[in-house]
Every structure is written in structure tokens, then in C-alpha cells.
């Protein structure tokens, strides 16, 4: 039986059995019996708590070495490990096979589902909401400061983190607990695809990874065929309106825009630059792009924007040239390709019409274009 | 101190009713006070019913050991504290009932060093005394400037006019503070331990000047002090207080009795007549064996 963390440290004295820590067990027993008749009940209870707590702590330090063996009943000698280098350059030692995964980012959760490995996912963050089944998984807290207790309680073989969301603190804490963590760091769409593929390999499902990557790449190729030759449309990707915040040119979102046949008019080194409205008014983007899965709230918001004199200078606001796409564009996960396709269709509708007769193209597509872009 | 121009009287604030030389101006009638820090505790400090009267041109000294209630009595006279019983009348008006502005036109208080938050020049400081006489948003008129200049001259501080307050010595600051009080053109001038930080020459200077001002400008002056001899020399009346109780009121010659003073100040003393005809109190040092 495996020793485990428990919250009610009072009660774990009885359930505590450690196969290999007999010494600690002996100390604990002798303390309890020897002192029991000397102390008052409260001090005894306090002492029990202290001893149990220190035992628990001692147990977790040895978790790393004992976890793999106790997991699937395989004796210590037969446990295999793999050493992989993650996307931040760290060398990680992962026990094989990887059966229990905890994901600390919504994008990683989505990728795990996309790889078909969701049965091995034992925990994810409060914000992992796609696909909907992911919400039923055990939650370990937020992405930025998850509950280490919860993570350890789930006894994961591997924790997945990503550099653009999780913190170094979390990784170090996991290291200290002896829990291996694998970090992804995709900077553009190509890397997102490659990252998904690598993740499949690391998790012991290389065929699933390759298949997913191939599918994504295929879709991207098809897209490039359709719109690659068309001139990109000049857009402003709006993260926030008060103040106006957009995305920098080195972000994966900017790359996604490029893949969708758009170019962000904001040329900034910062990842989330606060943008001067004058600049935007001067550059006059053709379309304003919003990422919101709840299109009603965006519609409300856009109506509000149209009433402001400063914003009405923008042609895109006056003509209601908005494009609202799925929030998936904000996550470096496979679903971003869907968002890219969505955006591409909105920006270049003429490329997606299914083989129309030549005389219909000119009049209809123009009308369709306005209809698709406007709200 | 140097006597200033006599024209001070012509610049009196209008509406003053007492013109006769010896009319009663200040009447303290059975005022008492009690103070408790919170409602559940018994009152900590009391001033028992005290009475005295003063005329224009008189100096009254409130005398007593530390923490005897002198400052409390002064605040009651000033109208900033409400008496538990009794009342204080200034020319027939109850001082506590007046609003702050009217009160400041008639009563001026000189306290120990004020803590200035930001630097100010002496003339700015003195001009503050004109505040009660102006409307809410005003700029100083020629009258105000003249009165302020006059006040500085009366205390002999004209040369200090452009200096920063923070640079002045204790005595100089005291003069400027007094000048500010004079600029208020009050009927009643109250001083709370004005001689504390002054050397003997400055103390004499101050009291001498006060007497001159009182006579010259028809002020009534009430001084809280524990300087027995200064009070004896310059005061027209003395109010002797011990532990909240007023023990005696009267001219120094009447109040300065040896047994009374020894009881109040808890130390052997002797009283005789000084060269000016006023009583003089001497400390009796305890040599070996008495």
C-alpha cells in the first residue's frame, strides 16, 4: 500500500504503512506508546500531529524513488526511465510508461485530448474548459499558482507546463517534490504543430502525435494554397479596448494572423503593447479582429465602440468591419488551426466559395464579404 | 521693549461698548470643569468653581504649581472649552457662545512655540492675526498691513519682519507670536506660560512690555505662569490655584502670604517686600539643621 498525503494528518497515523521506512515506523510507534501515558490528551494529540506531519514530509521526499515501483506493482529493478529534453532545454527524467498526466495549461489539456490520451489525464487547471469533458477532470487550481498539494495527491508520472503561462516557481517546486515536469514553448504556428507531435512522443504515443501533426499541417497547406497568393489584409487584433492593447509581432497570435492571410498593423517588440489610438487611426486597418467565443458580448461591445467619437475615425468602426473568431486563437494548441481557418474564411471569403460559375463570382462574393465581416 | 505709536487706540475695532476707563470687562463666574477620557471612567481632572473679575488695562496672573488646572482655566476664559458650570463673560458676552470668528476678534491667545509646517516669514505670520477681521476670501488691505506693522513695532520686532520664522531665537519668536496676537486687536489678551523658554532679561522684557501694552491699548491681560516674582512684580491681580481649587484671588500683596504659598508650592519660602514695594518671594535653602 502506498503512503499518501492526506489532509487530516490527525487520522493518518493509523493508515500509515510504509514498506521501506520501517525505521521511521518504529520511531513513531515508540514515541506514541512511550509518551502517551506521560502527557495530557491535548499535548498527546499535538505530538501526534507533529510526528505525523514530519512522517508525511519524510515520505514525500522519498516519493520520487518509490513512486514508479509502487505504481503498477512492478518490482524496482524492472522500472524504465527515459531522458528527454523539453522545449526549454531542460533534461527531464520520465518514468515509462506515462500513465498519469497532470496538465497545468489549457492549451496542453487541449493537446492531450487531441492526441486521444485523455484517459491518462488525471488533473488539469480550473481554466481548462475545452473540450467540455475536460471540465470534469480533477482540478488543481490556477495555471499561475496551482496547488502543489493537489498535484502531488494525484501522483502524476508527468506534469505538463508551458513557458508562456506557467511559472518557474511551479517547476522548481515540482522538482523539489520529485515530480517530473515537461515544458513546451511554441513561439509560432509551426512550433505549435511540432510541439504537439513531440508531446505525443514524450507521452508514449508517437503515432497519435504524428497523425495529429500531419492533419494540422495538411489543413495549413490547404489554406496556403487557397489564400497564399492573395494580398494579406491589414488588421488590428484587439486584446482590450480601454486602454487599447494589441499583440506584438513576435507572438504566435501574430503568426496565426499571417497564416490566415492577414497582417497585424502593429509592429512592436512588446508582446502586449498598449497602442496609441492615433497610430491606429493613421494606419487605418481594414478589419478589427476580436477573439471571443461569446459573440453576443462582443456585438454589444462593438456597438458601444461605434458611439465614441475617437473610434469613429477608424473606417473599420464606421463600416463595421469586424471579425470575431474563436478564443482558440489565444491558445497555442491544435485548435488554433481551426481559428486560423475561421479567420481566413472571414477575411478572404472569395477563396472559400466552392467552384462558382464565373459570372456569379463578382456580384455575390462582394456582398457575401460584407455580410461575413460585418456584425 | 519700545513703546509704539499711540495711534493704536484709534484703530480699535468698531462695536466695542466699553469706553470708560475702569469698567468691568472680564467676569469669570463660578466656572468649573471636569474631564474624563472615556465615558465609563470617572472624571480625571476637575477645576472647581472659580471666580474673578478684571478691568481694562489690568494684568491678571493665574498662578500655581504644575498640573493645577491653570491652562484649563485659561481655555475656559478663551471660550474654547465649555465649562461644566458657570460662565465667562467678556463685555457681557458669554465667550463660549461666540462663533470662532467673533471670538477671535475679541480674544487673542499667545501659546508656546507653534509648530510651523512650512516655512513662513515673520510678517506673514503676523498678518495671520488679521484673519478674524476679514471675509472668507480676501486679500490684505492697507489697514491690515498698517495694523500688522504697528503690532511688530509695539513688540519691538520691526527688524525681524522679513526673517524666516524658523531662524528666529526663542525670544524673538515669542515677540512675533505676541505681535500676531496684537494684530487681532483684541479686548482680551491671554498668554499661556509665555516665559518658559526665555532667559531672565527676556522675561522681564516681556512682562514689562505687557504692562505697557495693557495700559496703553486698554487690554485686559491674563497670564498663566508659575514665576512667582514676575507675577508679583507686574500683575494687578493674582489667582492662586492648587489642584483644581482656587485658593485665593486678589492683589499680590494680599495673596502672597507665606503659609499659603508654602502650602501651594510645597516648599519652604519666605515673603518680603521688594524695592518696588511689591511682594518678593524667596526660596529658603535647607542648610544643615533648621
Amino acid at each position: 500500500m502506498r503512503p499518501g498525503f492526506s489532509r487530516g494528518l490527525f487520522f493518518c497515523v493509523e493508515t500509515f504503512v510504509a514498506k521501506d521506512d520501517e525505521e521511521l515506523q518504529h520511531i513513531k510507534r515508540s514515541r506514541l506508546t512511550g509518551i502517551a501515558d506521560m502527557l495530557s490528551p491535548t499535548s498527546l494529540a499535538l505530538l501526534v500531529v507533529i510526528v505525523a506531519a514530519s512522517s508525511a514530509w519524510a515520505q514525500t521526499s522519498s516519493t520520487a524513488s518509490t513512486s514508479s515501483q509502487a505504481q503498477n506493482g512492478v518490482p524496482a529493478a524492472a522500472q524504465t526511465f527515459r531522458e528527454v529534453v523539453d522545449e526549454t532545454g531542460r533534461t527531464v527524467r520520465i518514468a515509462q510508461p506515462v500513465m498519469r498526466i497532470v496538465s497545468l495549461a489549457p492549451s496542453l489539456t487541449e493537446t492531450v485530448y487531441a492526441l486521444g490520451l485523455q484517459d491518462r489525464l488525471v488533473g488539469d487547471t480550473d481554466y481548462c474548459d475545452y473540450p467540455p469533458e475536460a471540465q470534469k477532470k480533477q482540478k488543481v487550481g490556477g495555471a499561475i499558482n496551482p496547488s502543489l498539494e493537489e498535484i502531488a495527491h494525484l501522483r502524476p508520472d508527468l506534469v505538463l507546463v508551458t513557458r508562456h503561462l506557467n511559472t518557474l516557481d511551479t517547476v522548481h517546486s515540482l522538482d523539489a517534490l520529485g515530480i517530473p515536469s515537461y515544458a513546451t514553448d511554441p513561439r509560432n504556428v509551426d512550433e505549435i504543430v511540432a510541439s504537439a507531435k513531440r508531446l505525443g512522443e514524450v507521452l508514449g504515443a508517437p503515432e497519435a502525435g504524428a497523425a495529429l501533426a500531419e492533419d494540422l499541417q495538411h489543413r495549413l497547406d490547404v489554406l496556403r494554397q487557397k489564400i497564399g497568393a492573395l494580398p494579406p489584409r491589414r488588421v488590428l487584433f484587439v486584446v482590450w479596448t480601454d486602454p487599447l492593447i494589441s499583440i506584438g509581432k513576435d507572438t504566435f497570435i501574430a503568426d496565426a494572423l499571417r497564416r490566415a492571410g492577414a497582417v497585424s498593423i502593429i509592429d512592436s517588440q512588446q508582446d502586449w503593447p498598449q497602442v496609441n489610438l492615433e497610430e491606429v487611426a493613421h494606419l487605418q486597418p481594414e478589419v478589427l479582429v476580436f477573439a471571443d467565443s461569446h459573440s453576443e458580448t462582443t456585438a454589444q461591445h462593438l456597438d458601444v465602440l461605434a458611439t465614441r467619437p475617437a473610434w469613429r475615425i477608424l473606417n473599420a468602426v464606421r463600416d463595421r468591419n469586424f471579425a470575431v473568431i474563436s478564443e482558440a486563437v489565444n491558445r497555442p494548441a491544435p485548435r488554433i488551426v481551426t481559428a486560423i481557418e475561421e479567420l481566413a474564411e472571414k477575411l478572404h471569403p472569395e477563396a472559400f466559395v466552392e467552384r462558382p460559375t464565373p459570372d456569379k463570382v463578382s456580384s455575390n462574393t462582394v456582398a457575401d464579404a460584407k455580410g461575413l465581416c460585418a456584425r | 521693549m519700545v513703546a509704539g505709536p499711540v495711534a493704536m487706540g484709534a484703530m480699535r475695532s468698531p462695536g466695542e461698548t466699553s469706553r470708560a476707563n475702569n469698567e468691568l470687562r472680564l467676569s469669570v463666574e463660578q466656572v468649573s470643569y471636569a474631564y474624563s477620557p472615556n465615558p465609563t471612567q470617572a472624571p480625571l481632572f476637575t477645576l472647581e468653581a472659580t471666580s474673578f473679575q478684571a478691568r481694562a488695562g489690568e494684568i491678571v496672573a493665574i498662578l500655581g504649581p504644575n498640573a493645577s488646572g491653570k491652562s484649563t482655566l485659561l481655555k475656559l476664559i478663551a471660550g474654547t472649552l465649555e465649562p461644566l458650570s458657570g460662565r465667562v463673560l467678556l463685555n457681557g458676552f458669554v465667550t463660549h457662545s461666540l462663533n470662532a470668528r467673533t471670538r477671535a476678534q475679541r480674544i487673542a491667545m499667545v501659546q508656546q512655540e507653534s509648530q510651523l509646517l512650512f516655512p513662513a516669514r515673520a510678517w506673514e505670520f503676523v498678518l495671520q492675526g488679521r484673519h478674524p477681521h476679514g471675509r472668507a476670501l480676501r486679500f490684505e488691505s492697507a489697514t491690515d498691513i498698517a495694523v500688522a506693522r504697528n503690532a511688530l513695532a509695539q513688540v519691538g520686532a520691526t527688524q525681524l519682519s522679513d526673517r524666516w520664522m524658523a531662524e528666529l531665537s526663542g525670544g524673538e519668536k515669542q515677540r512675533v507670536i505676541l505681535a500676531r496676537a496684537l494684530a487681532q486687536q483684541p479686548l482680551l489678551l491671554l498668554l499661556d506660560e509665555p516665559t518658559l523658554h526665555l532667559d531672565i532679561a527676556a522675561q522681564v522684557d516681556l512682562l514689562h512690555g505687557l504692562r505697557h501694552l495693557a495700559v496703553e491699548n486698554r487690554y485686559t491681560v491674563v497670564v498663566v505662569t508659575h514665576e512667582l516674582n514676575l507675577a508679583g512684580e507686574y500683575a494687578d491681580q493674582v489667582v492662586l490655584i492648587q489642584r483644581g481649587k482656587c485658593l485665593r484671588v486678589g492683589p499680590p500683596g494680599v495673596v502672597y502670604q507665606r503659609e499659603l504659598l508654602e502650602q501651594v508650592f510645597q516648599t519652604p519660602l519666605s515673603v518680603d517686600l521688594g524695592p518696588s514695594g511689591r511682594p518678593r518671594v524667596n526660596v529658603v535653602a535647607d542648610r544643615e539643621g533648621r
Binding site: 486602454p243 492615433e278 | 510651523l116
Partner: protein, 346 residues
């Protein structure tokens, strides 16, 4: 002896107004888009004379609809914060007081955040929805003003020390709530809130809001100005002021409410722009002296000049991005504060 006269006051204010005018012209010229001020002036005159009609040119639209409102907002915010800071420094008799010390800005921030969280769930007219954030901020500010007032009373009157303590405690309590709310939102929501809290003049407002702001400023600053002479006396000490005829309870109440309202208005539309309310009064004191009859108007001008300069630098130094004005005032303000501090100590 050179007491203050109306003429001197006007002269000093006129000098500062001239400086402000020059700063505004420079700010109008500076920015992403090239502007010919001569042409703009000509168009403006034409518009005014002909009563209406829009300025057609590209730069004209940008200047009139984006730049000028922003500059006007900066003037309002700077003047309000500086006057409020002067008022609080006198009221609390503390040279370190600034408009935010009594927690009003945290209350406004909390109100704005709550409005942001609530607004998607309400079905509102677009124009009303746009006002929700400043309105929420202002409501938060007024609630805080009331709460701190009741906390800061002793024996039925405002007491400076109790007020300061009550305000600081309320402020930190509200800051904790804000921190809690901010850690429970992620993604773009969090980012937007952080920028707003830093202090920002880039919110574009409905024209009606501008009118409200300016009326509020005149009322608030005017109310404080009526107590200018009283505040001068307050500087010598509270007891002395009372003996010199200052109606202390009334003055305290007027200054507290007026200064807090000015702060609330400013923070509602621009977030917490720091150091203006703290330092502009000190600088003006060095130049013009501590007489509040001069200090209040000159601080208003000084605050306006400071904020417009800071904002202009912030929006021109890293195009196309811009630095929030609150960051600029902090960058300039902190060293200036240290310098002033050392001068006092020396």
C-alpha cells in the same frame, strides 16, 4: 512686507497659463501623425465661425477627436490631482499626503473592476454601457469617501490623525480585495485591468462626460479655494487656527469632501496616476510660497502641465506602442521626490 495682492495672483496665474498654453501646442503637434498647426488653426477658426461642419482632413480628425480630448483630459486630471493633493496636505498637516492616501483611488479601482465584471451580464444601451466603468469607479470612490469619513471621526468631528489612520486601513483593505479579484481572472481581462490601474489617459469618453468632469472640477476646486485663508492658518497648528477664528470642523469637512471628490473624478476616468498630487504642491510651494491663495491655483496649473507633458512623452517615445502616463509620472516623480526630500533635510 509684501503681502499678496490680487494683481500678483493674476500675474502668477497668467504666467503659468501661458506655459500651459505652450505645452498644449507642443502636445497637439507631437504624435504619430504629422500635423500642421497653422492649417489646423485655420480650419478651427473656419469651423467656429461657420458653426459646425466637420474638419475633413485626415490629420484634423485625428487631432480633434483623439489628441485634443486626450490633452483636455490630461489637464483636468492633473489639475484635480494637484489641487486635491494640496488640500489633503493641509487637512492632514502632513507633507507626505497625496490624494490616494485616504483610499479613494483603491475604492475607485474596485468599483471599476466590479463594473467590468458585471457589465457583460447586463443588457444596456451602448452609450450607457460605455459609461459603466467610470460610473462604477466614481461610485466606488464615493462609497470609500463616506466610509473613511465615518471612520475618521472623533467626538463627532473629523480628526486629522484618526482620518489618516482610517483612510490608510481602508485603502489597504480595498487593495487586498482588488488583488484577490485580479488573481481570480486570467487572460486578457487581467492584462487590461493592470494597465487601467497604472494610470491611463487613453480612454476615449463621451462628450457629456467631459462636461461633468469640468463642472465637478470647478465646484470642487472652488470649494477648497474658499477655505484658502483658513488653510494658511491651519499650517501654524490646529489650536492656533481655532484661536484665530477658523471654524475648524467646517473647514475640515469642506476640504475633505471636495478633495476626495476631485480625486474620485480623476481616478474614475484615468486610473491612479501617481506622484502628481504629492509633488506638484511641493514644487509650487518652493516657487510661490505656502500661501494657499496662490498655491491652489498654481498647483492646478502645475498639475495640468505635468500630466500633459508626461502623457505626451509617453505616447511618442516608443511608437506604435505607448507607455502609460502613470509610469511616466512615477519615473520622473520618484527622483524628484528624493531630491526635494534631501533639500528639506539639508
Amino acid at each position: 512686507m509684501r503681502p499678496l495682492t490680487i494683481q500678483r495672483l493674476f500675474a502668477q496665474c497668467a504666467a503659468l497659463a501661458a506655459i500651459l498654453f505652450v505645452v498644449v501646442i507642443i502636445a497637439l503637434k507631437a504624435g504619430a501623425v504629422e500635423v500642421s498647426l497653422f492649417a489646423l488653426g485655420r480650419d478651427l477658426i473656419r469651423v467656429i465661425v461657420h458653426h459646425g461642419g466637420e474638419i475633413k482632413s485626415d490629420y484634423g480628425l485625428i487631432v480633434m477627436n483623439i489628441r485634443l480630448p486626450r490633452i483636455l483630459l490630461g489637464i483636468f486630471v492633473g489639475a484635480s490631482l494637484a489641487v486635491a493633493g494640496t488640500g489633503f496636505q493641509a487637512l492632514l498637516r502632513n507633507p507626505l499626503a497625496d490624494p490616494y492616501v485616504l483610499g479613494v483611488s483603491n475604492g475607485a479601482a474596485l468599483g471599476a473592476i466590479l463594473a467590468l465584471l458585471v457589465s457583460p451580464h447586463l443588457a444596456l444601451l451602448p452609450a450607457v454601457a460605455d459609461l459603466l466603468t467610470p460610473l462604477g469607479a466614481f461610485l466606488g470612490a464615493t462609497a470609500t469617501i463616506a466610509a473613511v469619513y465615518f471612520l475618521g471621526r472623533r467626538e463627532g468631528q473629523i480628526d486629522s490623525t484618526t482620518l489618516l489612520l482610517g483612510g490608510v486601513i481602508t485603502g489597504s483593505f480595498l487593495a487586498a480585495i482588488i488583488m484577490f479579484l485580479m488573481t481570480s481572472e486570467t487572460g486578457s481581462n487581467l492584462r487590461g485591468m493592470a494597465y487601467w490601474l497604472m494610470g491611463n489617459l487613453s480612454t476615449s469618453l463621451q462628450p457629456s462626460v467631459y462636461w461633468i468632469l469640468w463642472i465637478g472640477f470647478l465646484l470642487g476646486a472652488g470649494a477648497i479655494y474658499t477655505t484658502a485663508s483658513d488653510l494658511n492658518l491651519l499650517l501654524s497648528g490646529e489650536k492656533e487656527a481655532m484661536h484665530l477664528g477658523v471654524d475648524l470642523p467646517r473647514v475640515r469637512l469642506v476640504v475633505y469632501i471636495a478633495a476626495s471628490l476631485l480625486t474620485g473624478l480623476a481616478v474614475s476616468v484615468s486610473g491612479s496616476i501617481g506622484y502628481v498630487g504629492l509633488l506638484v504642491p511641493h514644487v509650487m510651494r518652493q516657487i510661490f510660497g505656502s500661501d494657499h491663495r496662490v498655491l491652489l491655483p498654481t498647483a492646478a496649473f502645475g498639475g495640468a502641465i505635468a500630466v500633459v507633458i508626461a502623457d505626451t512623452i509617453g505616447r511618442t517615445v516608443v511608437p506604435p506602442a505607448e507607455l502609460p502616463v502613470g509610469a511616466m509620472t512615477a519615473l520622473a516623480g520618484a527622483p524628484l521626490f528624493i531630491y526635494l526630500l534631501r533639500r528639506r533635510m539639508a
